[in-house]
């Protein structure tokens, strides 16, 4: 558990907006005056690896998701896929559906993001037998 925390603490979500980062600049970056900034691909790969741990435990899943949700981004489909498979290993259907709700919420007013993610995740959802909140009628108040 502490190893997981240590790995997560090396990512930073806060960046002083002194320099104006362009859209292509990696986010979730610390503004070091030294040292390299992590690219988007490295960031994604690190999170896919985190959720791919074969013996991931429930705490690590929750911690990972909560940390991921704290970033200024909607997680890539491959990260969500890895997280959903971790839910499968933990027999946690509730968290799988919650993850889908969370990424929809992260998109905020940008309504085109969630349908795109569902489109990309459809094979995984079918394979793992995960229903979307919409299919369960849980998206209505």
């Amino acid at each position: 558990m502490f190893r997981a925390v240590f790995r997560l603490s090396s990512t930073g979500a806060r960046c002083l907006v002194r320099s104006k980062p362009s859209i292509s600049a990696p986010l979730a970056s610390r503004c070091y005056s030294h040292g390299r900034v992590e690219t988007d691909e490295e960031f994604d790969a690190r999170w896919v690896t985190y959720f791919s741990k074969p013996d991931i435990d429930a705490w690590e899943l929750r911690k990972g998701m909560n940390t991921l949700i704290g970033y200024d981004l909607v997680p890539e489909a491959k990260i969500v896929d890895s997280a959903l498979r971790a839910c499968r290993r933990l027999n946690d259907m509730a968290s799988a559906i919650r993850i889908l709700e969370a990424v929809k919420d992260k998109a905020g007013p940008h309504k085109e993001i969630y349908p795109y993610l569902i489109q990309e995740l459809q094979p995984t959802l079918s394979e793992l037998g995960i229903s979307t909140p919409e299919q369960l009628g849980m998206d209505k108040l």
Binding site: V17, I23, L27, D72, L73, P75, A107, H110, Y116, Q119
Partner: protein, 76 residues
């Protein structure tokens, strides 16, 4: 028909970069507007009132009106 990949990163940063300067500008505008629309006229009104204010004359007028307890009108 499959959907195109939308922009998924830095959405909040983009929003802030747009809205925060506007918010700052509007706040400065409100502050400057208040200063020159409200506080300066008020200060000027006080200054104008006291520019030719004769305290002794005002006091004598009040004294003759009999509103003081410590000093009676000059006639009594």
């Amino acid at each position: 028909m499959s959907l195109q990949k939308p922009l998924m990163r830095g959405l909040l940063a983009k929003r802030l970069r747009f809205h925060v300067p506007i918010a700052f500008a509007l706040s400065m505008l409100a502050a400057v507007g208040w200063k020159y629309g409200v506080t300066e006229p008020r200060k000027q009104a006080y200054a104008d009132f006291y520019k030719h204010y004769d305290a002794v004359k005002e006091f004598t007028g009040m004294r003759e009106a009999g509103v003081f307890e410590s000093v009676r009108p000059s006639g009594e």
